[in-house]
Symmetry: C3
Subunit: 151 residues, 3 copies
């Protein structure tokens, strides 16, 4: 068995697993949010989708509300998925448990707020910028810590 | 060693690893499928790509067939990658082995069918909707199970 | 404890963890690169972003330089994230350590070059094609090896 796994702290690992599952749930909700927005705005991406509603309806790929939700979803892929990976690698660097748990909480809360102010109720900047940074800064910290640890 | 890993069942883990590798292969095939469609429709995204074919050819970003394959690929990122993560976390909740293995099979089969009816041979709805749900419902079930387990 | 983890080689695992962290850092840099390009070209995606600069500025979704960086970022999600998963699974197939470490190095170097020639300094084809293949070919090899191992 690889020795890097030996230092894994059970409490911190459970916190990681919990927050990863919560953020996965948040990400999965973006699909029905996109679908609901497509129905509300009657803006479907494919002819077989718009055609299922009405033969006269044409696909529409530039609805601003639908594209906003899609950008929020893509932003999740760009930030949450790398966090899932680097969050676990960071655990293998033997971090202080309370620091690690609080970083996971900060990332999770920030990404939930990011979705709310981006795709649910649009709030003027710098709301989205701060929510983005609340997840980006701890993720960068974990990444740099991991690189230096396994150098 | 963290105790959460102790309950990991070898048979279920091997089933997880196999289906994850199969779905990775499926996802990787989306890149050559996009490239082939770009060549077939002569719709390249970058001037250095279209220019390599003919100096007169301009980039084209709105070809419906290319965009369809790209949407199918993005849909894979949105659904298969979170499944990779939550599928493993779900294994740590000590599930019934036969249930877990069948959920993995259902997700994998559904996502393969999703690609076929979306990007290879377009089949009228609700084909794509059902294939999408065949993966989404078990993924949501695993996510909720994991959240409740590590609460 | 699952027996599949027993064969994990510590040296190879550390190489994997290091290169995954490096590629995560590379991916995270795509967000500020997009933001910088948006500011340089004054092409913001959302009215609350352009409005924060000037009330007269309208959102702009088709700037070629911004879209190029976004395509490079999406290409990372499509290729680097599956590599993170399959790279670890490949380690569980008990590969020759030197082969595994060199495959990781090849993927990492190729993806860094891919970003440079795609989104930083545009270099004519086949530069981007070769960089893409330098990561795709080893990733496919690892995927096929993993499928056959856990069949």
């Amino acid at each position: 068995m690889a020795t890097v796994f030996e230092s894994l702290d059970d409490t911190v690992l459970r916190a990681y697993l919990f927050w990863v599952a919560v953020l996965t749930a948040k990400m999965l909700l973006m699909s029905p949010l996109t679908s609901l927005t497509r129905v509300r705005k009657m803006a479907f991406a494919n002819p077989e989708d718009s055609g299922a509603v009405s033969r006269k309806l044409k696909p529409k790929l530039d609805d601003p509300d639908v594209e906003r939700v899609r950008r929020a979803h893509l932003n999740d892929l760009e930030n949450i998925l790398p966090f899932f990976v680097i969050g676990f690698l960071y655990l293998l660097t033997n971090p202080a448990p309370s620091l690690a748990v609080n970083l996971f909480r900060l990332v999770a809360a920030s990404r939930i707020v990011h979705t709310l102010v981006y795709a649910v109720v649009v709030i003027p900047q710098p709301a989205r910028f701060l929510a983005f940074m609340g997840a980006m800064v701890p993720t960068v910290y974990m990444t740099v810590t991991t690189i230096l640890h396994f150098l």
